[in-house]
Symmetry: C2
Subunit: 454 residues, 2 copies
């Protein structure tokens, strides 16, 4: 038998996780309760029932350490899971680092990112609850694609409000959703009150994620057969994504490794949580491990924001959550990592950062793309611009290990591929990418509009 | 342990093939020798040495049954191999067929198709031979992408002549190659004699694959540091692709299955050969198995062509090969499966078809895309338009099994994904796809220009 170097760590079907991990069972301080935007009182489950099925509401609040993954969901996960865990031998050599670099690659599934890990169970629980149709928003299109495919698997209708500027700039993401039977509307649309109001104010509005959320929530709340689905931020979404870290742990065990540091890019927080939370379980048990959330310098929610109650959307329709925020009115510069352009962060991630459990770092576009190109040329995979932030984070750790002369083990999440993002790589390679920083003044302005909650 | 259905068949590193399979050791009639286009005499190895390294020339003619895969190539294969072998449970249910359908998915690698299986060994052997630079042509961009990545792995320069119409229509394929450090020129270009001549005749020429081949061959022949690389047709290319079928055989063995029929789409023939030749080895040994090559009705080389000596390119620079051909001047209609628009077919595939060892079938665009959409909605993967032909072939076999009331086992090669082909799906879903048939009259005209070889 040959003893060739193999970068992949394989799991058998029997070794696949059968439960998701719920960090609320272990974290020292739970997130503050959500607030009803209408009453400004703590949010009860009944307020959520208009747009979510009961099983997902239960998952939103449960403090059980493990939640069973339904058989039907496990079977669909197995269309592409376990996701590859790779030892980046060629990258290590290129960086001339004593560090061992592992990456968990979530881009092999049909939608090209980690989002399918939660869209499948969300569609499943809605189907079980008798729902016929799901409504959602999408910006760059990753989440809309993932929900479209999941709805197609379960025979649900899918209504996607796609931010108008993306609708026109990324026609193939729209095609992807339509291929899977979804109805895609450019937001603001004529289909909702919120959309019509926006069009009245500005017929040429390019839309925003906040507005698209408002349209999708209104759609779901106004129809009995329809629920709403969200692709990040909420506890149940993050619960589903822990399959990433749970698999990674088992894969690393098989090669007798344990990471010194776990790295993920962080927008709403579901990818970072997915890769890191199962390891934080060990940290709460006393094991030494670091977790680093990597943000864009243009939208440094954790790194530069405040920890406060805020709305999740510009139209103030969503529950008010205690989180790090740059203010719900903050408009981040138009960087290429669209999935990281969110003013807030998951309450779970926010609480952990507030408690000092996790670290954050922020990078500008050019240094992120520079790392992505080196990664592509050595490992062969073109990272999504979002995922490229984690690549850059891993580079920094690998070079720190080299300076310290230490053999550290680094694990990062390569949350998606960049096949749909060549316009961004073109801009980078052509020297046309700007290192736009966030505007501190506009954050200060935006933070004045935080809701006042006791 | 749960007994959930798992569609994937996993191979361990130790079970990976370490040799390629060479069908020339087993086939009853070898292909006729190639002819030198200059002298019209049989082609000697010396004529090939101007553009190929000796190891590849040896592989072109060897009759050894197995050829060792170099360790460096095996290690790079392992970045994504073994490619998934999937049981299409959800598709079987949708087709309501008693057939078991398996597909081998070659789209998980960074370039998204099976082409990387041969670009890596080609770059390796050229590097070993001291070559610094490879030149090639590309149409839709799959092959150029695969060679660019392989050159990047081995530190070779890569020069790609990309058919001008694709260069402008598929800018992201160009970006992909540039990201991996390749130089990409729109063909016809000013860089070669053949290109300049074409531009003189028609400054607005959109180019053709035949012309791009002429440019790449001229580039390679005129520089000592440069060789040429071809992505299909030749024996050594097909040898490398047998890794697809060799893995599939081992994977099927693990679930105690053996196919009644093996299906691949067929342009130049490397994908069809890759999946089917290792099974044909058994057929030569007396085992009952069918192999079906699926062609587009717009370019039905095997189905409707003649078995004769012909040039591989329009400029008549390449060796003259005995193969099924529609004539080197035949211009197929502009269908969306660009990779299947080739007037000829591999001499190995041609000989096997001539001998009755394999079968062929041809389908039109709309029926192919209809099958692709059903496949996408059930299995979740969007097939490349080329690969969709194999999907349609598998549908036909599955429905035949249903009519016969027989439980047949079907294996097909899903040679690549369609992430770069949403314009085609858009056209199909919008009802804008034409079922263009090939023109029998233009084939007759083109066949008049076959070279006359004794």
């Amino acid at each position: 038998m040959s003893k060739l170097r193999d970068p992949k760590v394989i799991l058998s079907a029997e070794e696949m996780p059968t439960q998701w991990y719920n960090i609320m069972a272990d974290m020292p301080n739970l997130p503050a309760p959500g607030i009803n935007p209408g009453t400004l009182e703590p949010l009860g489950p009944e307020a959520l029932q208009a747009i979510f099925p009961m099983e997902l509401i239960k998952q939103e609040v449960t403090q059980e350490r493990f939640v069973e993954i339904p058989d039907e969901v496990q079977e669909l996960y197995r269309l592409w899971r376990p996701a590859p865990l790779m030892r980046a031998y060629r990258l290590e050599k290129a960086l001339d680092t004593p560090a061992k670099i592992f990456y968990k690659y979530e881009g092999t599934n049909p939608t090209g990112s980690h989002k399918l890990n939660t869209s499948i169970p969300q569609a499943y629980y809605n189907k079980q609850a008798g729902i016929k149709r799901l409504a959602t928003e999408t910006g760059a299109g990753q989440w809309g694609s993932a929900l479209s495919l999941a709805c197609s698997f379960f025979g649900l209708e899918c209504m996607v409000y796609m931010v108008k500027v993306s609708y026109h700039q990324k026609p193939y993401r729209r095609s992807f959703m339509e291929l899977f039977g979804a109805q895609v509307a450019a937001s603001p649309s004529n289909l909702t009150e919120a959309g019509r109001r926006a069009l009245e104010e500005d017929p040429d509005s390019l839309g925003s994620l906040g507005l698209a959320i408002s349209e999708a929530v209104e759609d779901a709340a106004s129809r009995d057969d329809t629920n709403y689905a969200l692709g990040s931020v909420l506890n149940h979404v993050i619960l589903h994504q822990t399959v990433i870290g749970l698999e990674s742990k088992k894969q690393l065990e098989k090669v007798d490794e344990y990471p010194d540091v776990v790295i993920g890019c962080c927008g709403g927080g579901s990818n970072f949580s997915g890769i890191s939370f199962p390891f934080l379980a060990d940290k709460f048990g006393g094991r030494k491990i670091r977790a680093v959330a990597v943000e864009p310098a243009a939208c440094p929610t954790l790194t530069k924001g405040v920890f406060a109650y805020d709305f999740g959307d510009t139209a103030k329709l969503t529950p008010i959550l205690k989180m790090y925020t740059l203010g719900h009115d903050f408009m981040p510069p138009g960087i290429h990592a669209g999935g990281l352009r969110y003013h807030g962060a998951s309450p779970l991630v926010s609480q952990l950062y507030h408690d000092g459990t996790i670290e954050t770092v922020a990078y500008t576009q050019n240094e992120v793309f520079e790392a992505a190109v080196t990664f592509a040329r050595t490992e062969g995979i073109v990272p999504a611009p979002e995922s490229a932030h984690a690549v850059k984070g891993a580079f920094a750790e690998a070079l720190a290990a080299k300076e310290a002369g230490e053999e550290r083990t680094i694990l990062f999440s390569l949350s998606g591929h960049g096949y749909f993002d060549f316009a961004s790589y073109d801009a980078y390679l052509g020297g046309k990418l700007e290192d736009i920083a966030y505007s501190s003044a506009s954050v200060q302005e935006s933070l004045k509009k935080l809701p006042s909650i006791k």
